[in-house]
């Protein structure tokens, strides 16, 4: 057997393996280079008022010719010593004129059909009035507003809102259009937005949609005689259901000293889902098998789950299933074949 031949064979095999393994690694996420924020951080950042410094970086928004994208371009302004009306004029002017975009901006945007978020002919005039809540910018639009598609309207509203609320000089936005059918010139407010709105622009990352929810979990006290509530903030993954997260947290156990979990060892969640106000909890056979039994203990276990779930919005009843099947009794005492509601009697009364 030729040495050379062996080396060649080995090389070919290695190459084959290598190329396959590399082809198998999943493609990196498109949005991997996007900064990942939690919602609260995002909203806080969005609301950051720059007007205190009278100027600063303000996002301007543009769109494409089909209004299916909202492009953000940051611009630095110096508003020192200028009136609100003046500032608004400046910003509106820039928003109306795509020409202000530099080559750099265009290169980043990668779209050659850039247009203003304010379609031509839609804008009529604007006005600023002062209210208790703050400064209100009234955008007066023409009849052409009614010809706008929903996405065009959304683009206009969302873009203007984010831009002006970030500038700090405006606190509310109102859109006025002529009353349809009336020729008298009367106007009606067709939409509005406030700086308190939770406006989320161009976020795709699943981490952004992770949520936090506050729930009340019930665990047994040290003697095992009653349930004790524990308030906890749960972090939910994007596709996590709150009820599921609650049951999972109960299985994981308490975080407070002195409390114990009453869920039997080895219990696995088959499924947890909600329908018409009923939360169905389908658990594995271990839930039933591995429980010691006894009236008090059975109740503690069952109601730790039921009471915790009822703290979730929308849960009116809880129905247990063991591996997909309805059972009459949990062990010997607690009935499981009915819709259960919370039992506060076995909850330790606060002193």
């Amino acid at each position: 057997m030729n040495r050379k031949a062996w080396k060649r064979i080995a090389l070919v095999l290695l190459l084959l393996l290598g190329s396959l393994l590399s082809a198998c690694t999943t493609n990196p996420s498109e949005t991997s280079d996007q900064e990942v924020l939690t919602e609260s951080a995002y909203l806080a950042e969005a609301r950051e008022s720059t007007a205190d410094e009278v100027g600063g970086e303000i996002p301007l928004f543009f769109t494409n010719n089909t209004a299916t994208s909202l492009y953000e371009v940051k611009r630095t302004y110096d508003f020192s010593g200028r009136e609100t009306a003046d500032i608004v004029e400046t910003i509106l002017y820039d928003l109306n004129h795509v020409e202000i975009l530099t080559e750099e901006d265009m290169a980043e945007l990668e779209d050659l059909t850039i247009s203003s978020i304010i379609p031509s002919g839609v804008y009529s005039s604007h006005q600023i009035r002062s209210e208790e809540s703050g400064e209100v910018l009234e955008m007066h639009l023409t009849n052409l507003y009614y010809d706008m598609t929903p996405n065009e309207r959304l683009v206009l509203r969302a873009g203007l809102s984010r831009t002006f609320f970030t500038s700090g000089v405006i606190d509310e936005l109102e859109f006025w259009a002529p009353i349809q059918g009336e020729e008298s010139g009367g106007e009606t407010m067709v939409s509005s937005s406030s700086e308190n709105d939770k406006l989320i622009i161009n976020q795709y990352s699943r981490d952004f949609y992770t949520d936090e929810a506050q729930v009340t979990l019930y665990f047994a006290n040290a003697d095992g005689t009653a349930l004790v509530p524990e308030t906890r903030t749960l972090t939910l993954g994007m596709t996590d259901l709150l009820p599921l997260a609650v049951v999972r947290a109960l299985i994981d156990g308490p975080q407070t000293e002195g409390l114990t979990s009453v869920i039997p060892e080895g219990t696995m969640i088959e499924e947890v889902f909600m329908k018409d106000g009923v939360c169905y909890v389908d658990l594995s056979a271990e839930f039933q098998k591995n429980h010691i039994g006894g009236e008090l203990k059975e109740n503690l276990t069952i109601y730790s789950i039921v009471n915790s779930l009822q703290s979730v919005d929308g849960v009116r009843y809880v129905q247990f299933l063991i591996e997909g099947k309805r059972v009459e009794y949990y062990k010997s005492y607690t009935r499981l074949d009915t819709f259960l509601t919370s039992n506060m009697d076995i909850v330790e009364q606060a002193e």
């Binding site: 598609t149 976020q203 909600m274 929308g314």
Partner: protein, 483 residues
Amino acid sequence: MSIIQSRKVSWFRSMRFRLLACIVGIYIVSSVVLGQLVYHMWQSYWTNQKVTEISRYANFLASDIAINQMIAAEDESQNLYHELQSFSRLYSYARIMILDDQAMVRQDSSQTKNGRYIVNDDVLMALSGKNSIVEDGDFVRLAVPITDVAGATVDGVVYVFFSTDTLLESLSISQGNLALILFAVGLVVCSLFFVVITIFTKPFKLVMDWLKQVSQGNAEIPPALERKDEFGAIANSVQDVTHDLIAIDRSRKEFVSNVSHELKTPLSSIKVLTESLLLQDSVPEAMYKEFLQDINSEIDRQTTIVNDLLTLVRLEEGENALNVSSFVLNEMTEDILKRLRPLAEEKQVELIIESIREVEIEADETKLTLALSNLIQNGIKYNKEGGKVTVQIDSDPMNAVIKVSDTGIGIEEEHFDKLFQRFYRVDKARDREAGGSGLGLSIVRQIIMLHKGTISVASTVGEGTEFTVKLPLIQIFEQEDEV
């Protein structure tokens, strides 16, 4: 014969190890390849199924909401909620949000994003009336417009997020386990294979052991190797080669003994003659002359033997390639006869040439001359006084046919097949008298064989002998294989 050395085969160089390494390598690569292929095909198929299924549900939901006008009215939130719940099956791997035409979240399967305004490409695309599906790594975002019954306006969006990496979860087999299974199977396969090749390579050892025996002269094939497969073939070939080698060795010994015997004879004569001269005190001059003449002819004899031997050996070793040229056989024969006429006249033997036809032949003229001369000389030597030697030249379409016949003493049939052997003498005494080295016919035969011809003999005792030589008219040179 040398004894075959016991050679140790290092394990890493052995065939078994290499075969095993090969099979392990092939198995690993092919199972990895196959595994990955299958996994990815499956993943891709499953992902497509999932996307289709969820897409379908999302469209259902959108239509349902539209039909029931649930999104237009503000107070329909309960109904919307129920609507969402009726698709509860999807919740284990999907997040569903229902947005209105202002992109505000009216319902959220996780109940946490209600009231947010979500503005991005997906939502904008859906609001413009088109479905939007984006695959982002192992996550898919699907946005479906809720169009009113007339299909005129878009009232909202069904926005769905779902993960496609739960394939293996649903299988309860992780990639790690899959690899483990493949590995376990691989171990079993390789062990089995190892056993199989051990069985198959056993005969090698048998052959090795047997060859040791062969080197000691025992070439009989043991029963274990009497097989119809390649090993049996090797064993048989080895046996044939061994027999040939033994035969060759024997003939070599014989040759050496023959040669030394032949050379010794003239030397002993010379010794005797010389000694007798030396022992006598006074030897007449005439006697000196006579004895010296005898010595001289013995020396000549020896020289002839040595020369013929050399010629023969060279011919046999194939050192002389044929120097082929085209010439007329008849003319060559006439030249030979002319040259040998003095010798023939001495014995009063008549030389006759019978040319049936003129034969042109492609051959080595020098060698053929030698061969024919030898035959004719033999014809002259072993002839009666007054006899004749006839050379007949003929041809058939393929070969030249030369017959050399004499009217000599003849040769008994029992000598025919040994006639062409080296130093073979029919009648030792008479041959010695006739002179010659005893190699003449061997040389003739070798030359004929080099030309790929044949020679045969027929004889009647007391009447004569006829040698028939057939030579191909054209020499075809076989192409030697490229080395």
